[in-house]
Amino acid sequence: MIIFYNKTTGNIFATIDGRMHTTAVIDCMITDSSVNEKDVDKIVIGFEKLDGGKTKEHNMDMFDMVQKFENDKRPEHPLKYKVDKNKLVRQT
């Protein structure tokens, strides 16, 4: 999962779903015309698919959150979270 958020507010405004991404996808950006692009940052959680069948791990300490977002019975919604000091914190 790739989470895009506003650095100044911590608000998450977009995601790319999934556990495994190519480097090209990880390098992608999502922007919102109401947000200054310089204020946009992203957090990659999961695996990056590299050449030769290798993978690289990203922020696996947050991987349990991906599983919460993917839960098909009681999914948590990533847009209800904020990024606070590089952690995902649920908003009320």
């Binding site: 790739i2 895009f4 405004f13 977009a14 995601t15 790319i16 779903d17 999934g18 090209a24 996808v25 390098d27 992608c28 950006m29 999502i30 922007t31 919102d32 015309s33 109401s34 919604h77 990533p78 847009l79």
Partner: protein
């Protein structure tokens, strides 16, 4: 195994899936078909009638097939983009389009009102026919 010799093939009954001609198999991922997608969700807000644009980079180098759903607050309705809804309760306008590098989702209201827009998108991975 190389990048060019793997994929999915399904042969007809009595036919060898490894040696059958491409034109004789029931299914082969060698040809144009969706091989996956980039998908996700997002939220944005508008307060005026100014167009809001979401830019989602994909970098495929070709124009992909895309699918976009949008739900304006209070998220009672989930619309398939593009749509222009006008009526007593609705004045939503939104559409999307894709280029070789990005998916753009655009939306606005025709009257100024604070609105949150929830969207989901799918960018299908295949060069297709475009």
């Amino acid at each position: 195994m190389t990048d060019t010799d793997y994929g999915i093939r399904i042969s007809q009954k009595g036919s060898d899936v490894f040696s059958a001609d491409d034109n004789d198999v029931v299914f082969t991922s060698k040809f144009a078909l969706f091989k996956g997608s980039i998908s996700g969700v997002g939220i944005a807000s508008t307060t005026t009638t100014t167009m809001q644009t979401i830019s989602i980079e994909h970098g495929f180098g070709y124009i992909p097939s895309v699918l976009v759903n949008i739900a304006p607050f209070p998220y009672t309705y989930f619309y398939r983009s593009p749509i222009n809804v006008s009526g007593l309760d609705h004045d939503y306008w939104f559409h999307h389009y894709a280029t070789t590098t990005h998916l753009y989702i655009r939306f606005r209201r025709t009257v100024a009102a604070s609105t949150s827009w929830y969207y989901s998108y799918f960018i299908f991975i295949d060069k297709g026919k475009i």
